[in-house]
Structures are given as structure tokens and as C-alpha cells.
Amino acid sequence: MLVHHFLENSASRLPDKTALICGEERLTYKRINTLADSLATGLMGLGLNRQDRVVIFLDNSIESVISVFGILKAGAIFIVLNPAMKPKKLNYILRDSGARVLISHRNKARIIRESLTDLPNLEHIVWVDKVPVVEKSASSRISHYLWYEVLAQEKPFNLSPFSFSLTSRSRCIDIDLATIIYTSGSTGDPKGVMSAHYNVVAAATSITQYLENIEDDIIMNCLPLSFDYGLYQVLMAFLFGGTVVLEKSFVYPVKILQRIGEERVTGLPIVPTMAAILLQMDKLSRFELSSLRYISNTAAALPVAHIERLQELFPNVRIYSMYGLTECKRVSYLPPEELSRRPESVGIAMPNCEVFVVNEKGEEVGPGEVGELVVRGSNVMQGYWNAPEETARTFRPGRYRGETLLYTGDLFKKDEEGFLYFVARKDDLIKTKGERVSPKEIENAISEIEGVAEVAVIGVPDDVLGQAIKAFVVPRDGIGLDEDRIKRYCTENLEPFMVPKYIEFNKYLPKSPSGKIDKKRLKKEGTLGQER
């Protein structure tokens, strides 16, 4: 099975069922399938080949969903990027992925204009818009198209009738890549996690199995499709023939709560920050939320107090605490009936997936002992795009011939009954607002500011964010730096969730004997050598 078969199967089984609700628009499975076919035809008409990369840089929208499936139907690989991404990172990913086509919207034109330098592979930009975007400069070798032009193209002009057919033959098999999901890496540059079709099919099948999803489920998704958790809400709903209510974000929680009532939503995937925001609202009970069947949480652990209050507020809702990482999508879930007994646990391995907690020598450790979590299963992805060394460090050979195990870099322990507990990261990646953030990426940005001699970034505990980002900055002698200047630079160059909440100016930073900044000490002591 291939990922776009999720859509095709549901379109043939439930053609007139509403698959996607986005604002005022409601699309049936048949309609989405037809539009995705048209996009695939148009993309192939532009010369897109099997396994070429196409970047989707859009807010959550009808078009972002159609793009995902249209690209797959063309045999190509989709890459969804965070709609708040800034030019430098966009440029990096366009270059790293070697994308030939970019699909975006006019509201991103400024960001795109600033990101187009030195991209030898990028040939086409498809603008989701009704009027031409003024980007058509004669000097550029990039050609620009409008969404409807690409979809209206009946036959690919440079392919013979025999070389393609969307319905009679698939251009891919299931070991081909379906998507590359970019995530923060410890080096500061984002890494692209390569997912083959069979990986996505395995993960989606397993997750929908333990969530007990049925055709009548209606999922509220306000997470960006660039985040695998958001993307899979759409993929999984299309797998089981459900309905997705797609929202751009959780910025206006009241709107989301109203939509849950209006659309009789049954599944609400959240991250801890959303739970914190919901729990801050005083009159939650006024909303009509009786249709909710389950709430799932991942990205970081929910504080136990929040779990308890959520369960109090929604006594009949099944709450799933889950754990995963992009490199294998999902690892574990806590069966809701266990929630009151072991609220801190992220549960057991999901169906068709196996986990071990191992010591430095790779030997499995006993209950209560801390070690690295290792994952085995068809959901273990194919490694990092263009990064064989990083891939070899994380994706390692297993006990049996030919198998690959994922070393998560997360420290875990198991209890006597085998339930998993997250302990810490091995590296210093930060989890904030449900996003995995590389301190290095923020440090690199701050180092570019004139007058910064040294900088170290850590995560500090925060009730709403999970972890808040704190930057320790050492200014050059005699240079006055202020907090606004640093935050402004970060805002201009990093996605909003990476902008430090706290900036502390110091005369020096603690160092280890080898001269590296001692982040453990920074975390422990919080502040030191402060200037003001």
C-alpha cells in the first residue's frame, strides 16, 4: 500500500463523504481525489519525475492537503515546511532537498523572494492564488505558475500517453520515499528525516489501531502539517475514512472550541502548551464539547496536574499520553485506563513496534534503570537526507540481519510491568511549545549579531511552554547590547517558537576543563556573573 492509496481507497468507498472541512469550505473524498489527480497531472506536465522533491510552504489549507496527495500521485516526495519559516532556513531546505518545485501562497512572497539565492535545482513556483504574483522577473530562470493553471492542464505536454497514468499504474512502490520531514538537529542545521511509503503506512496503521479510530471520527487539527503530528492527523483520517476539520492554528482557542461543537468533533490532538492554554480559560464548561471521544497528547509530557484537570473537565474523554520522534513517527502510548495509575508514564510500545532501554554497551537494562530508548519496527524511518554520518549514528544495525534500530537519544526507564518513563534527552535539544528546538540554531543566529562575544542557549522549565528558551549572552568589551536588539534579530531570522523568552547578559560563561561551555552548570545555577 502507498500513502496516497489512503485517499484513493476512501474516495472509491465513500466518494460523497466530507473528508475535509477548512473554514467555510467542505470537500468530499471524491473531490479531493479529483483535485489531487489534476495537480499530479499538472506537476508531471512541468516535467516532475519519480522521487523529485516538492516543497509545500503554505498555511494549513485545502491546497496544502491536495498538494500532499497530488505530489505523491506524481510519484514525487513532498516536504511540508512550517508556514512561519524565515528566508535563511527556507533557502537551506530548498537547497538541501534539491526541490524542483515550490508550492506557496502570495502571503509568503516576501519570505520567498529573500530565499531564492543559489538554488540550482529549483525550476518552478506554483502560487496558490487567483491573480499573478509579481514575482515573474525575466532574468530569473524560475518559472511561475498559478495553482489553477497547473490543475487545469489536461495532459502533460512532454510525456507520451504511455509514460504516465494515474489510475492504471502507480509510479512508485512502497520502499520509495513519500516525504522528508525536516526537524531540528544538534548541529544547528535542520535534518530531513526520510519516510518511505511503507514507514508512513505502518505508523498510521498502528496509531489508528490503538486510538480505535472509526469512520465516524471527526478530527480537529490545528497543528501545522509541517509537524508530523499535524500531518498524520490528515493521513490517518483519510486512511480510516474519517473527517478532518483543519484550522490554521490554536491562536484563537475559543474559535477552536466553538468549531468542536459545531462540527461534532470526536478527536482532539494537542501538545502540552495547548492544554495549558485550555486550562487557563475559566468557563470551558460553557462550550458544547460532548462529542469529544478522545484527546491525544505528544511532543512533550503533560504535567500530571494538567492531566488530572483535563480528566476532571472531560470525564468521558479518553486521554492518550504518547511519545514519539520524527525519526519513527510514534513509539508508545499509555492506554487511557492506565492514566490514573501511572500518570507520568508514556506507556507501552504501539502495535507492531518494539522498544528496548539499553546501557552504553547496548545491553538491555532492568526495571528502574535508566538507559537510551531504542526502537525497532516498520515505523523506523530511512535516515537523514544527505547526511550519512548523522544517519549512521542514529540508525544502527540491529541483532538480526538487515534490520535497523533507531537510537532515540532519549533516556528512559521502565517500571516492573514494562511501562515507559521519559527521563531526559542525551543531548541538549529543547522542547518548547511542542517543537523540538536546537540550541545551536539559536546560538548561531545570536552569534551573528555584532557585539556578541559568546552565547549559550538552554531550556528552562515553564508551565505553559514545557521549556522556555533562555539565552546567556556575553557582550564584547565596551559594547552595549540590549535585550530588544537580540530578540528582534531572532524574530527576523528564526521561527517564532525559537525566539528566546529570557536573555541574560553575563561577563563570562562557565567552561568545562576542555573549554566547552558548561551547560549543565548553567542549567543548575540559572544565573551567574550577571551584569545587571
Partner: protein, 82 residues
């Protein structure tokens, strides 16, 4: 009115754009332009409550009231007038 507008504008520029008002028009959607995220909206609400002595009800946390400088100005005018 213009005073309201200036105070709101100044708050947004100072707290979310850290002084860089490049391209921020009175109609710019905070959400679509990525100016304010889900925690930012809570900061905006506390500012409105403290600065103007109003109470923002949960059901008023909607884009029509809060998603641009214009929307905030007309929302505030309504709240302060009533």
C-alpha cells in the same frame, strides 16, 4: 481613537516585533503574518486588560476582535464605549 491605535501599535511592535515595525500595517493579520502565536495572544489580552481596565471574556478571544491593529481598536472602542 488615534491614541488607542498608537498605544496598541506600540505594544505590538515592542513585544512581538522587538522594535521593527517594517511592513506592519493596521490591517496586517497577526496570525497570517506570524506576528502573534498562541502564547502571544495571551500577552496581548493581559496588556489590554491592564492598560485599559477592561475584562476580555473567553468568548471574545476571536480573530474578529484581536487579529489586527484595526480589529483590536474597534473591539476596544466597543468595550470602552459600553
Amino acid at each position: 481613537m488615534s491614541d488607542l491605535r498608537e498605544r496598541i501599535r506600540a505594544f505590538v511592535i515592542e513585544n512581538f516585533l522587538f522594535g521593527n515595525d517594517d511592513g506592519l500595517s493596521d490591517e496586517s493579520s497577526f496570525l497570517e503574518e506570524g506576528i502573534i502565536d498562541s502564547t502571544g495572544i495571551l500577552e496581548l489580552v493581559s496588556f489590554l486588560e491592564e492598560e485599559f481596565g477592561i475584562t476580555v471574556e473567553d468568548e471574545e478571544l476571536i480573530p474578529e476582535n484581536l487579529d489586527s491593529i484595526n480589529n483590536v481598536v474597534s473591539y476596544l472602542a466597543k468595550k470602552l464605549g459600553s
